[in-house]
């Protein structure tokens, strides 16, 4: 039982970081029906930016973290502003946007690799306050902080999406972008806002994971990319609670797979579960069938 609870806690911790990235991914998909492959790169970029600011300038780690959030959000915005919006204005097919995000992802990954090298870098853990033992289960402070941050952000985002005006504009845009424009909603502004949020979330998550493992490397973006993809689809793509639960489920499954079976199978097993869930419920755990009646 000790192993079970320990793995559960570890799984929830890592799953909550997947959930954060997934939320950004699913929100972009919701408003644009666009698979943003660059989302994982923003996660890696966010971690590297704060590491660079911290180690190169010696500034306060929290200030570095804060600046990296703003910068990554800005890069998220530029992704849309420089490329995707132009494609939308030209009425380019959806596939063009998808390839563009793939290209953006490579540009970000390669730039970071050229600037910092491809070796794994140590990442400082500023929340190394020790650990708490409950029975025989060990919870570290960094885990508690990751969970608390993720939970707080999820609550804030749910509030933004379901209760505020910009959130309602987002949900309108995701249902029918043209009708949203006819309501007087500035769809481009909604999309820009969505990209900024997804960048901010990816950055926060990247930093949390950096602190958790105390290392970062340039492939971390590609690996989280697959996981957010799986989380969002498992939960039902485009649905906020779906991304949250999907991320947690993927995190827990892969941790159990690694703990009980073999760490070599962790990704394979979580994808097997994903496929099984989709076979039973193709729209994902929280996804609903379209009810567009004409």
């Amino acid at each position: 039982m000790r192993v079970f609870f320990q793995q559960l806690i570890n799984g929830i911790t890592i799953g909550s970081t997947y959930a954060l990235v997934s939320i950004g991914f699913t929100m972009v998909f919701g408003v644009l029906e666009l698979t943003n492959f660059a989302n994982g790169s923003l996660y890696m970029l966010g971690a590297y930016l704060s590491l660079m600011l911290y180690s190169a300038t010696g500034m306060n780690a929290f200030l570095a973290f804060f600046i990296s959030i703003i910068l990554t959000g800005g890069v998220g915005y530029l992704l849309d502003r420089l490329a995707l919006r132009r494609l939308r204005n030209k009425k380019a097919p959806k596939l063009t946007g998808l390839i563009t995000t793939l290209g953006m992802s490579m540009i970000i990954d390669n730039t970071i690799m050229l600037a910092f090298g491809s070796e794994t870098k140590p990442f400082p853990n500023h929340f190394d306050f020790g650990r708490i033992e409950i029975g025989s289960v060990v919870i570290s402070w960094v885990q508690i902080i990751i969970l608390a941050t993720a939970l707080t952000l999820m609550l804030i985002l749910s509030f933004v999406v379901y209760k505020t005006k910009i959130g309602k504009a987002m949900r309108c845009t995701s249902q029918n972008a043209e009708a949203a424009r006819l309501m007087g909603i500035s769809v481009n502004r909604v999309i820009a806002f969505t990209f900024i949020i997804s960048g901010v979330l990816a950055c926060i998550s990247g930093n949390l994971v950096g602190m958790y493992y105390q290392t970062v490397d340039i492939t971390m973006g590609a690996s989280i990319g697959m996981k957010t993809f799986a989380s969002a689809i498992l939960g039902g793509v485009g649905v906020l609670p779906g991304a949250m639960v999907g991320g947690l489920v993927v995190g827990v499954i892969e941790t159990f797979a690694a703990g009980y079976i073999s760490s070599g199978y962790r990704d394979a097993i979580s994808f097997v579960v994903l496929i099984l869930v989709l076979l039973i419920k193709p729209s994902g755990l929280f996804g609903s069938k379209q009810i567009n009646k004409v």
Binding site: A179, M183, S186, I291, N292, K293, V294
Partner: protein, 236 residues
């Protein structure tokens, strides 16, 4: 001065010419109808007025002000609202939330009063205000689309095919509403394939054929015109 004025408006889809220099006026308080067959350019006209489609030539004036190719949001703020073809309600929102989105550019505190007016216009929407819009019938969705447009308190209401796919009784109901909306002081530009009903409820009308206005007169005169009868009223 006309409330809405289109001067020589030209619109192209790539190399295809959708509107070739149309002139059209709508005066304050009027119901004006645009009739024409499929592909004549009726919806394109509406979309161009709203800024959803780029106007490649000519000018559009609203209340004397040049609004050609302005952002759709600007049109909405100026009081031009389109209830689009195929209703386009937000299917996953409740009736009430759909209506609320119609008042997106207006202050929140004015919403309850306007919603009450819309419910008086369409009592059925009040009965179904918690229902998810995607599960409404076609006629109810059309009422919701018009109700949502009215939530913006338009000066000029553009209605694109409000009778599309509806039963005759429902069509009658919708057009009775349109009369009531005009009596409330809203000017209406209507696009219809159902020319007979539309003309009966309009003051004036334009006939559009392959991107050109070929005829314009009072609705009464067009109802009696041989050409319109043959082409659009089934020769009866």
């Amino acid at each position: 001065m006309a409330l809405l004025k289109l001067e020589n408006v030209t619109v192209n889809y790539g190399s295809i010419n959708a509107l070739s220099g149309i002139n059209l006026e709508v005066n304050e308080g009027e119901i004006v109808t645009l009739i024409g067959s499929n592909g004549a350019g009726k919806s394109t006209t509406m979309r161009t007025i709203m800024g959803l489609k780029h106007c490649d030539g000519g000018k559009i004036f609203f209340n004397g002000e040049d609004i050609t190719n302005k952002d759709t949001r600007v049109m909405v703020q100026k009081g031009i609202i389109l209830s689009p073809e195929g209703r386009q309600v937000f299917p996953r929102f409740s009736v009430e939330d759909n209506l609320r989105m119609g008042a997106y550019t207006r202050p929140d505190q004015e919403i309850p009063e306007t919603m009450e007016q819309v419910f008086q216009l369409f009592p059925k929407l009040r009965d179904r205000r918690k229902q998810i819009a995607g599960t409404l019938s076609g006629g109810e969705q059309q009422m919701l689309a018009v109700g949502r447009a009215m939530m913006a308190k338009p000066r000029l209401l553009l209605l694109d095919e409000p009778s599309l796919g509806l039963a005759p009784l429902v069509i009658k109901e919708i057009f009775d509403m349109i009369d009531k909306i005009r009596d409330m002081g809203t000017t209406i530009l209507l696009v219809e394939q159902n020319a007979r009903v539309a003309l009966r409820h309009s003051d004036r009308a334009y006939v559009l054929e392959t991107g050109r206005i070929v005829l314009s007169d009072t609705a009464q005169a067009l109802l009696n015109s041989d050409m319109v009868r043959k082409a659009y009223l089934g020769g009866l």
